[in-house]
């Protein structure tokens, strides 16, 4: 990789950032494959995440086919079903959403939106992607090893995760754990980049309180990830030792098929604590970047400044902080001291306060705004509605006495799919429709886009609303088939059929979206510069798409916050962040803490 040579163009303002050294790629290989440009790395991340995400999408189809039409598909055995569940969950949460928000959007937007030429450690950034790719390949390899992928459920709870009755006990679980460890190593390399770039490489005038909320979201989520992934790393290593070296970190004395295993004395609950100490912040690692991005989408497409910017920033920080002290609400039925349940229920419900502040602020931003019902705006509104739905069912599950009967029912499945599946994915779509012209210089096909939005949005409700009801009926999750169960009425089967049909249609809409992406990269309508008339720096680059190094000879200088939309008396209805104040203009709002 030493091929990448230091830049020889003299127009880089080195005095501004003495440490920023750019590398000019010399060949196709260093430009597009082993690239150190954050924008290329972002696209590599996004492509890989989308491809592995498609696998998870197909798995969800197969699961729904089994649930909707049990006994109809011979090729889906019970063990297969568990494998689908496990891989679907793990891929969607970690390898798709985490990688897409932080590796994809983070890499692309952080340097551009804060006015930097690149990430601060481009070489490490490149390594981060390649390690991530290795982790994804290792994960995909589990489909082809003897015994197939692990069927332990995405939570990988021991002891069952490594007992012989669980599918994929031989190879699947080992590769899965190794893949997770690799993912964490790779993510740490990227994550350090994102944090240090935001902290140390902002443009002149770009104070912390002038950063777009997108950057705040990605920044806080990355810090969460850097502090939460260690917990997963440690538990993954210990589980790997339990499986390969017969240690007993998590394994109690246990009898399998009448035979006493040589395990003994470990603590299965310890794994649950460690897993959820990672697992709960993980929810916010996915949600907080979505919060940030959706704020910018709403402000831009409603031509109005974001309501309560400082409150939004503090809410993100408080949500991040609180997310570390709520983990055991995933373990109400695990057998904890009841006082723990009280503490964790309280801290969980407190999170509703900063979250509600954010929702109110989004709605108040829309209030009397000049709302353009463009695709990003549609997806943003879809996100707000979905997030409120998912958040409210979260209040149900946060309460111990309500959670206990609902545990392990379809209600839980509906809740987390609404709040951390559908809601963030809607933001991802909105963000792609918003930034696609910047990245490619072309528009996505808007007709296909509207088709995609309406099918996805309405379809998601068709899937998950009935699922809440199933949960109340007591339909358990993770069951291959319900069989003859006294308390479950026959109508459940019809509802399951309906959900399956909806899921197939929604999945097909995503294929249309992928087609739209590929088609529009090459044949999409050409986009003019700054087509949304946005204020943030990524649209103010000299060229669109931005070239290597992002900005022209001069780094941009920031004079105002990111939300100067519809300023009274201004010529346009937006003022870019790098536009100097007019002579008669009062000092631009900074959103900075008052002295």
């Amino acid at each position: 990789m030493a091929k990448a040579t230091p830049t020889d163009i003299d127009d880089l303002e080195t005095a501004d950032l003495p440490e920023m050294d750019l590398y000019h790629p010399k060949s196709f290989l260093t430009k597009w494959v082993f690239s150190q440009d954050a924008k290329v790395i972002a696209l590599q991340y996004a492509t890989t995440a989308t491809l592995i995400g498609l696998v998870a999408l197909v798995l969800s189809w197969l699961m729904r086919l089994q649930l909707g039409f049990p006994d109809s598909f011979d090729f889906i055995a019970p063990t297969d079903y568990y494998q689908y569940i496990t891989m679907h969950g793990m891929i969607m949460v970690i390898y798709l959403l985490t990688a897409l928000f932080l590796g994809g959007f983070g890499n692309y937007l952080i340097p551009l939106m804060i006015g930097a030429r690149d990430m601060v450690f481009p070489y490490m950034n490149m390594l981060s992607y390649w390690i991530y790719l290795a982790a994804v390949l290792l994960l995909a390899a589990t489909f082809f090893v003897p015994g197939g992928p692990t069927g332990a459920g995405w939570t990988l709870y021991p002891p069952q995760a490594i007992l012989s009755g669980t599918p994929g006990r031989e190879w699947g679980i080992v590769l899965m754990l190794a893949s997770l460890a690799l993912f964490i190593v790779g993510f740490t390399m990227g994550g350090l980049n994102y944090v240090i770039t935001v902290l140390q490489a902002r443009a002149r005038g770009m104070t912390l309180m002038r950063m777009p909320l997108t950057i705040w979201g990605i920044f806080v989520a990355t810090i969460l990830a850097l502090l939460a992934f260690p917990s997963l790393f440690v538990s993954v290593i210990m589980l790997l030792f339990d499986r390969l070296l017969n240690t007993s970190f998590f394994m109690p004395h246990i009898i399998e098929f009448g035979e006493k295993l040589q395990y003994g004395g470990g603590s299965p609950i310890l794994f649950q604590h460690l897993f959820w100490f990672f697992g709960h912040p993980e929810v916010y690692i996915v949600a907080v970047p979505a919060f940030g991005i959706v704020s910018d989408l709403i402000a831009t497409h409603a031509r109005k400044n974001i309501f309560g910017y400082r409150m939004m920033v503090w809410a993100i920080l408080i949500i991040g902080l609180l997310s570390f002290v709520v983990w055991a609400h995933h373990m109400y039925v695990s057998g904890m001291n009841p006082y723990f349940g009280f503490f964790f229920a309280t801290s969980t419900l407190i999170i509703a306060v900063p979250t509600a502040i954010k929702v109110y602020n989004w709605v108040l931003t829309l209030w009397r705004g000049n709302i353009h019902l463009s695709l990003p705006m549609l997806f943003a509104i879809g996100f707000i509605i979905t997030f409120i739905n998912g958040g409210i069912t979260g209040l149900f599950l946060g309460n111990v006495i309500v959670d206990v009967p609902l545990s392990d029912t379809m209600f839980v499945v509906a809740h987390f799919h609404m709040v951390m599946g559908v809601a963030p994915i809607l933001v991802v779509f909105g963000a792609i429709y918003h930034w696609f012209p910047l990245i490619t210089g072309r528009w996505l096909n808007q007709t296909l886009g509207h088709l995609h939005f309406w099918i996805t949005f309405v379809g998601a409700y068709a899937i998950y609303f009935p699922m809440h009801y199933l949960g109340f009926m007591g339909v358990p999750r993770r069951y291959y088939s319900l069989g003859e169960t006294a308390f479950i009425p026959d109508s459940v089967a019809d509802l399951n059929k309906f959900i399956t049909l909806a899921a197939l249609v929604v999945g097909a809409a995503q294929i249309v979206f992928i087609f739209n992406l590929i088609y529009s990269i090459f044949w999409g309508r050409k986009a003019e510069r700054n087509p949304w008339k946005a204020t943030t720096l990524e649209w103010q680059t000299e060229t669109m798409p931005p070239r290597h190094g992002n900005f022209g000879p001069q780094l941009p200088r920031v004079y105002r916050w990111a939300y100067d939309y519809s300023v009274p008396g201004a010529k346009d209805d937006f003022i870019p962040q790098n536009q100097p104040p007019a002579p008669d203009e009062e000092a631009a709002p900074t959103g900075a803490p008052p002295s």
Partner: protein, 242 residues
């Protein structure tokens, strides 16, 4: 919003810092750099160490949990880690030397940083080399201790002295720490070579990153090294004194 709380353009602020909490917040939130005049690598190392603290902290928490969850009695560290020297059984003898060696290496590292800022290449290189040697000695003694325990029959999955979790957590945690020390030694040697060759004065570019280095890298290296030492103090307390 007519009020201008502080310099908006990024010029160094003409008015003095208000001090106190307001001053801290104002400095942090100011433009370009949150930590003024601090090299990127150094900030990165601090954030990385914070993340690594969580890893070691969780390792030790897990160790404490399994130690209390296992029904088999825990072996007595004074006996397990004792060394027989000249016919006498000395508890914690080897570990005392190991700890002394590692703490001393922190001293040589700190001196190396001082000489690096004085641009004294010869002394810097010597002290870095001494640090690396002390680190390697530590790893060597750890290997000796491992082989002694293994020869006595301690395994990750079994332990003749008591709870099997003793062997598993001991090998896992000291192994992970020893890995950190070994990586540190490797980087110390690389930096020593750079100092000896004068890379930081000649602004020679790195092989992988093709970036210019600077003497501040020695301080960043030092941060890592002191952190590894500090972690050892905790491992020492939890494994050998408890």
């Amino acid at each position: 919003m007519a009020q201008t709380p502080y310099s908006q353009t990024g010029e160094s602020s003409p008015q003095p810092s208000p001090g106190g909490m307001t001053g801290i917040l104002r400095d942090w939130a100011s433009d370009r750099q949150t930590f003024r005049q601090v090299p990127w690598g150094k900030v990165m190392m601090w954030v990385f160490l914070l993340s690594d603290t969580f890893i070691f902290g969780i390792f030790l928490l897990a160790y404490m949990t399994v130690r209390s969850s296992t029904p088999v009695p825990w072996p007595n560290p004074s006996e397990v880690f004792a060394l027989e020297v000249a016919g006498q059984t000395l508890p914690l003898f080897l570990i005392a030397i190991m700890t002394f060696v590692l703490i001393s290496s922190s001293g040589t590292m700190a001196l190396a940083v001082r000489f690096a800022y004085a641009r004294d290449r010869r002394n810097t290189a010597l002290l870095l080399l001494a640090t690396a040697l002390l680190g390697a000695t530590f790893v060597g003694m750890q290997a000796f201790e491992w082989s002694k325990l293994i020869a006595e029959g301690v395994r990750p999955w079994a332990n003749p002295f008591g709870a099997p979790q003793f062997g598993s957590s001991f090998f896992m945690i000291t192994g992970f720490h020893g890995f950190h020390v070994s990586v540190g030694v490797l980087f110390l040697l690389i930096i020593t070579r750079k100092v000896l060759r004068g890379d930081f004065d000649l602004e020679r570019r790195g092989f992988f990153t093709s970036r210019k280095g600077s003497y501040e890298q020695i301080e960043t290296m030092g941060l890592y090294w002191h952190f590894v030492d500090l972690v050892w103090v905790f491992i020492f307390a939890f494994f050998y004194l408890w």
